[in-house]
C-alpha cells in the first residue's frame, strides 16, 4: 500500500474557487488527499461540499488547480479515467435494470470489474427495473457503479443516503477495503453522524473555505491503523 507520506498526493486541490453568479461557494480551497486515505467533507447545506466534488469530477468549471497523482484534471476523458463519482442524487432511470446499468457503465469505463468484491446480498436483484427498487436498493446499485473500472479516487456524495444500518455498515467496510488497496476516497456528508469511523480525516467546509481540518479519531482508533499525515490543522490551508 502506498505510504500516506508520498510526496505527490493522490488528489491535490489548490486555490479552488467557484462562484454561482455573485455567490462564491468555494473561495480558494486547498486540499491534499494522499493515496489510500479517506477524507470526510462535512459542512452545512450550501457550504460547497457537492460543488467541490463536482469540480474534481470535471462536471463544473472552476478557477484553481486540480490534479490526480500529479496530472491536471480537465474535461478530457483521460482525466476521469482514474476517478469515479457517485452523485448525491444518482437519478438512475426507473426503466433500466441494475444489470443493464452495470453493463452500460462498465462499457463506458472499459471494464466490468468491480474495484472490490461486494458483500453477499449487498446488491438487490439485478434483473428488476430500478424503478421497482427502494431508495436504498437504488443507492446500492449506484455505489456498485461507482466501483466499476478500478478507480484510484472515489468521490462519494452522501453515499449513505437511504441506506439502512446493514447497508451503512457495508459501505463503511467498502471504503475501508478500498483504501487498503491504495484507493483514495473523499466522502461528502452534512455531518459525521452515521459515517463516523469511515474516514481518516474530517474536513469541514464553511464560508467558502476549509475551517476545521482534522483527524477522524474514531477510525484511527477503531481500525487500528495510523493516519500518519501531518498534525491536524497543518494538512489543509483554510481558504
Amino acid at each position: 500500500m502506498p505510504s500516506l507520506r508520498d510526496a505527490t498526493p493522490r488528489l491535490r486541490v489548490r486555490g479552488l474557487t467557484k462562484a454561482f453568479g455573485r455567490h462564491r461557494v468555494l473561495d480558494g480551497v486547498d486540499l491534499d488527499v494522499p493515496a489510500g486515505a479517506a477524507v470526510l467533507l462535512t459542512g452545512d447545506n450550501g457550504s460547497g461540499k457537492t460543488t467541490l466534488l463536482r469540480c474534481v469530477a470535471g462536471l463544473v468549471d472552476a478557477v484553481g488547480e486540480l490534479s490526480i497523482d500529479g496530472r491536471g484534471i480537465d474535461r478530457s476523458p483521460g482525466s476521469r479515467r482514474t476517478l469515479s463519482y457517485l452523485p448525491q442524487s444518482p437519478g438512475l432511470p426507473g426503466w433500466a435494470t441494475g444489470a443493464e446499468l452495470l453493463q452500460l457503465f462498465g462499457r463506458l469505463r472499459g471494464s466490468h470489474e468491480l474495484l472490490i468484491d461486494l458483500p453477499a446480498r449487498f446488491l438487490p436483484p439485478l434483473d428488476r427495473p430500478v424503478g421497482q427498487l427502494s431508495g436504498g436498493q437504488r443507492q446500492r446499485v449506484a455505489i456498485a457503479i461507482a466501483l466499476l473500472g478500478g478507480p484510484r479516487l472515489l468521490l462519494l456524495d452522501e453515499p449513505a443516503a437511504n441506506l439502512d444500518e446493514e447497508g451503512r455498515a457495508a459501505l463503511i467496510d467498502l471504503v475501508r477495503r478500498a483504501t487498503e488497496q491504495g484507493v483514495s476516497v473523499v466522502v461528502a456528508a452534512p455531518s459525521r453522524g452515521e459515517l463516523a469511523g469511515m474516514t481518516d480525516r474530517v474536513v469541514r467546509l464553511a464560508g467558502g473555505g476549509i475551517v476545521a481540518p482534522g483527524r477522524d479519531v474514531a477510525r484511527s482508533r477503531d481500525a487500528g491503523r495510523s493516519c500518519d499525515g501531518p498534525p491536524p490543522g497543518q494538512e489543509e490551508v483554510a481558504g
Binding site: R54, R75, R81, P87, G91, W95, L104, L108, R109
Partner: protein, 276 residues
C-alpha cells in the same frame, strides 16, 4: 474503449429507454392509427371516383407523417438530456471517461432510431393497405414519403436535443419543444398566410420561408419528388426557372441536413461548455 463503442453503447441505452417509455408507445400507436385512417380514407375517396391507384392515400400519409413524428422527435430529443441533467443521471455519465461530445450525439442516434422505428411502423401499416391496390409507382412514392419523413424527424430530434442542452429544466425543455412544434407545423404557415400579401414577399421570400422551416421544407421536397414543380403552382415555376427541379431538390435536401447538423452542433457546443 473506443469512442465509437461508447457512442453505440449510450445510443443503444437511449433507444432502449425510448422503447420502454409509455408515452413513446402511445405516440407510436396514435401515429399508426392516424396513418391507417389517412390511408383508408384516401383509398376510399379514389375508389368512389372510380380511379385505381393510391395517390390520395399517399398524399394523406405525407400530411400525417410530417405532422406527428416531428412532434414525437422534438419531445423525445428535448426530454433526454434535460431530464437526465435534472435528476442527476447526466452527472454520472459526464463523470465517466467519455467525451462531452459523445453525450448529445449518442442521445441523437438513440432518439432518431426510436422515431424512425415509429415512422416505419406507422407508414408500414399504411403501406400494407396500399399494397392491396398499389402499382410499382405507388410503392416508390411511399418509399419517398418514408425517406423524407426520416429526414424531417431527424431534424426534429436534433432541434429537441439543442433545446434540451439550452434549457434549465426538463419542464422548460418540454414546453419549448411543444411550442417549437406548433410554430413549425402550424404557426409559420399561418404567419406567412397573414403577412405574405402585405409584405409582398414574392417567390424568393417564400423560398426563404420554406428553408427556415424543416417541416415545410420536407413537405415541399416530397411534393417536388412525387409530382414535380407543377404541383407547386407559381412557386414551383419560380423554383424550376431559378434552380431547376434537381437544383431545388438538392437545396431542400441540404436545408434538412443543415437543420439536423446545425442544432446538433449547437447541442454539442453547449454540452461541452456547460456545468452539469
Amino acid at each position: 474503449m473506443s469512442a465509437m463503442s461508447q457512442v453505440t453503447g449510450l445510443a443503444a441505452f437511449e433507444l432502449r429507454g425510448a422503447t420502454r417509455s409509455r408515452w413513446v408507445l402511445i405516440g407510436a400507436g396514435v401515429f399508426a392509427a392516424a396513418a391507417v385512417g389517412a390511408t383508408v380514407a384516401g383509398l376510399r375517396s379514389f375508389a368512389s371516383l372510380g380511379l385505381a391507384g393510391a395517390g390520395a392515400a399517399t398524399d394523406g400519409l405525407v400530411q400525417v407523417a410530417l405532422l406527428l413524428p416531428p412532434l414525437l422527435g422534438l419531445l423525445l430529443g428535448a426530454g433526454s438530456l434535460a431530464r437526465d441533467r435534472e435528476r442527476g443521471f447526466l452527472a454520472m455519465f459526464a463523470s465517466q471517461p467519455v467525451s462531452r461530445t459523445t453525450l448529445p450525439i449518442a442521445t441523437f442516434l438513440g432518439g432518431v432510431v426510436a422515431v424512425w422505428a415509429i415512422v416505419a411502423f406507422g407508414l408500414g401499416a399504411g403501406g400494407l393497405l396500399i399494397a392491396t391496390v398499389a402499382t410499382l409507382a405507388d410503392l416508390a412514392a411511399l418509399a419517398t414519403v418514408v425517406v423524407v419523413a426520416f429526414s424531417v424527424t431527424a431534424s426534429a430530434v436534433a432541434i429537441g436535443i439543442a433545446i434540451a442542452a439550452l434549457a434549465s429544466t426538463h419542464q422548460q425543455a418540454t414546453a419549448a419543444a411543444a411550442a417549437m412544434w406548433l410554430l413549425l407545423a402550424l404557426g409559420l404557415d399561418l404567419l406567412l398566410a397573414g403577412v405574405a400579401p402585405g409584405l409582398r414577399l414574392g417567390p424568393s421570400g417564400l423560398l426563404a420561408a420554406v428553408l427556415v422551416n424543416p417541416i415545410e421544407a420536407g413537405r415541399v421536397l416530397v411534393l417536388l419528388l412525387l409530382e414535380g414543380t407543377a404541383a407547386l403552382g407559381p412557386f414551383g415555376a419560380y423554383l424550376s426557372d431559378r434552380l431547376g427541379r434537381p437544383g431545388a431538390i438538392t437545396l431542400l435536401g441540404s436545408s434538412l441536413m443543415a437543420w439536423t447538423a446545425g442544432p446538433l452542433l449547437l447541442a454539442v457546443a453547449v454540452t461541452r461548455r456547460r456545468d452539469i
